[in-house]
Symmetry: C2
Subunit: 163 residues, 2 copies
């Protein structure tokens, strides 16, 4: 209950780095995230930060992942604790609104959508995958609400994209 499991320092500072990186990327966008600035923000050397990821692209992917993780933690997890059906769907929608209100600098993932919309590469793919997962989640929740008879046979994607 005391000794950390073999590796502690590395993972810890990596989390710290990603945390600061997330803050920067939320303001400047993933493309505006530079290793030099990030290193200064965490109080490390450029190379020290760099060593944790191996490339800027991997860093960006990690930050994007963190963005998706936080979003899921903030919106999805709470909603999954609600009973399935319209209640849960509403929780998702409300959580979504709260989320975009919370981060007045804009949602990192949403910014990434337009950033990599017409820019092929691993980042683009990762963003698309994340959006699709989010879309399938909301679709499933909506389907549940329809199955339970709480919703007419409305088309789901329209609802989601509308909001």
């Amino acid at each position: 209950m005391s000794s950390q499991p073999a590796n502690s320092k590395g993972a810890a500072t990596r989390e710290l780095i990603i945390d600061r990186a997330y803050a920067i990327a939320s303001r400047e966008g993933l493309e505006g995230l530079s290793i030099g600035d990030l290193a200064q923000a965490v109080g490390m050397s450029k190379s020290g930060v760099f060593a944790h990821f191996g490339s800027r692209e991997d860093l960006q992917l990690a930050v994007l992942d963190e963005g998706g993780r936080r979003f899921g933690e903030f919106v999805l997890i709470p909603a999954l604790r609600k009973p399935r059906g319209l209640v849960r769907l509403r929780a998702i929608i409300d959580g979504w609104f709260d989320w975009v209100r919370e981060n007045q600098h804009g949602c990192l993932v949403m910014s990434a959508i337009s950033e990599y919309d017409s820019l092929p590469g691993p980042l683009h793919d990762a963003v698309v995958a994340r959006v699709q997962r989010w879309r399938s989640d909301t679709t499933r929740a909506t389907q549940m609400a329809i199955d339970s008879g709480e919703l007419r046979a409305d088309t789901d994607p329209q609802q989601v994209s509308f909001e």
Copy 2:
């Protein structure tokens, strides 16, 4: 009928530069437009291109202007030849759709909107001004259609932003 009015060469190459710059910025965005690439595209030296604008920012502003000019020439001017009222409003809307269909790489001005949305500076201001002008034009056209009784008292901004 032969001698150009005092200055010919300068203005001509400047137009050529802006033309190429517009093509590049339509693909890469105004922020992705670099003087080096542009110089190579027109077959000039970096400094030669630079001299025409004095700064990268002025170049970007000039390209943005060109984008607005082409848009107006393509959409607005033809519509103004139609009789005022619903016919003209329709011409504007159709022209708008044709415009975004024509440039499959995306409208430069629209891209600029998101590029400089949260990035203060002269570019941001110029983009906002251009959007407002476009908005007032459509508002005026809509008002004419209302005045002539061809349209109910619908609210204009909603229509525009919806499309």
